[in-house]
Symmetry: C2
Subunit: 335 residues, 2 copies
Amino acid sequence: MSRSAPTTRDVAQLAGVSLATVSYVLNGRRDGGGKIGEATREKVLRAVAELGYVPNQSARHLRRQKTERICVVLPNLGVPYFDALVQDVQNVAEEHGYTTIIAYAGTFERERRILEQIQCHLADGALIVDGRTTEKDLVSFVNSGIPLVIMRNHTVPEGFDVVETNEREACYEAISYLIRQGRRHIAFLGHFGAMNEPYDRFIGYQQALRDGGIAFDERLVSGGAGSRKAASLNVQRWLNLDPRPDAIFATSDKAAISIIWTVRDAGLRVPEDVAIIGVGNIPEGESTSPPLTTVGPASSDFRAVAQLLFSRLADGELEARTFVHEWTLIRRGSA
Amino acid sequence: MSRSAPTTRDVAQLAGVSLATVSYVLNGRRDGGGKIGEATREKVLRAVAELGYVPNQSARHLRRQKTERICVVLPNLGVPYFDALVQDVQNVAEEHGYTTIIAYAGTFERERRILEQIQCHLADGALIVDGRTTEKDLVSFVNSGIPLVIMRNHTVPEGFDVVETNEREACYEAISYLIRQGRRHIAFLGHFGAMNEPYDRFIGYQQALRDGGIAFDERLVSGGAGSRKAASLNVQRWLNLDPRPDAIFATSDKAAISIIWTVRDAGLRVPEDVAIIGVGNIPEGESTSPPLTTVGPASSDFRAVAQLLFSRLADGELEARTFVHEWTLIRRGSA
DNA sequence: TTGTAAGCGTTATCAC
DNA sequence: GTGATAACGCTTACAA
């Protein structure tokens, strides 16, 4: 077993033709001119099948100077929003004859290592989602000429295609909607701490309060949206407040769903007593009771994002573009 | 921009040394013998930094005949169980100096293409989760000598390391537990249709009923565990039955959680009126109300699985091994 | 229509 | 210690 894999040489030998002929048969020659005789073609194909020959990608890539692979770099797993993205990207990639690989960054250090690998021709281009890599580190990429599409709202260096969301506006819309319903005590459960960047969702919240003529109440702001448990705990605290919040805006759907349980278990009605809005539009939110009102992508069609990458792969000289992925308020039962 | 990447040749030229010297500095030579002068070393390193040189992986792999990459092939995204697996594998891989890439199969056709890529040296080895690839197709792998670890319970060809779960026993345990509580009308919501393989979870259910002296009732078996919505619909139907089921076993936690909502909305108590057990032990189940009792991996430590792959990577001549990943009943509030 | 040969960027085996 | 040099497996001008 484990004898080394067959090469074009083996195929050529078995078929009784030259190396070049094998390659021609397998790739179809580029110049319109030459054609391979049907008989030769047959022979080669038979030899390929018999040996179970598969071309060595490393060698092909080295020669062709491209991998025909793209990489999606994700900050973490288990986010439905990312999963949808990956699916669309993969489909588009396939249409272009590209393979897609997913790299899960996790830590900053690991993200760095992945980007390094990409620079070493792990892939011809990449889609970086929410990356924590600094502008400085990204600059070396623009020099190496490897196409990158970056999905984040802040601190993106020049020279890249960027995909932004208008989540600030969408969150503003959500809070305004609550205010129009007559809600006056709107709590905000966010992801604080992890970020020192401007926090769009919080900014949208504050602005909507201001524009709605509602005083900002510090007690109604808290972290914990990152975990279901923390969310539940914080909300229990809020429910004992006087006056009790009549609406809760959580910056993740997971937290929001956990909050629905908590509020219902406290004997309160959703949305009559407490309206609840989440962020992200995860599928889980469609089957809660009541179904979760949420802020999220208006469509989960990421094909346009993928196209951004492939258009640049086709023509590296394009100028940097910015694409806005529309977010909106998705009204369901919980608010 | 986009001028082609610097090579060892460029580095050597700038540093005023030969190609080999650059390589020695970068990789540290294998034979204990020769050493590089500190001065030369410095020069080379400086040149590397100045040019922003990164070694071309394709070339390295071609030369070394290995990629130092492994691939995890997943049937689909969005399954917490898989996410945990990927994290552990990635950590172990890192300790061995390997990069991990994730490929998401989705369709059968795509899975085939991914395996083909692996055979073409996309990676040195792979972990196939729940793959639908037939035994026949896998056989060509064992010939090519690429280490594979296969995680599935059935129809695995000889010559591979296999990871199985004892989910049949664990499901048997869950149903027996319900019977011991005095439940007599235990419904089964499964994933039917997609599978023509023996269905472990259902077998465990049937066997527990038999051993518990309970007649099998066809009306209490249904598909729909794959979707939250279908689960809810089917359960609504069950709740109108006479006698009403006093327990529901769903073969996915997502379905089970959806069922908790449904049962509670129907004005029934969980677990007093209806006990509910899921499968998979997803994190979401810890924060439902009541928390979800479920059947799942006793530990979500997959490091041992990863080690299986790396031990084989180190020594291809090992004989095929089977590893059982223990599943168990995790008792929480819903049953 | 097919064969020859050069080279993609590395690494490793030799001499020096 | 360091420098030529020969592979690794494949593609593709160019020659036959």
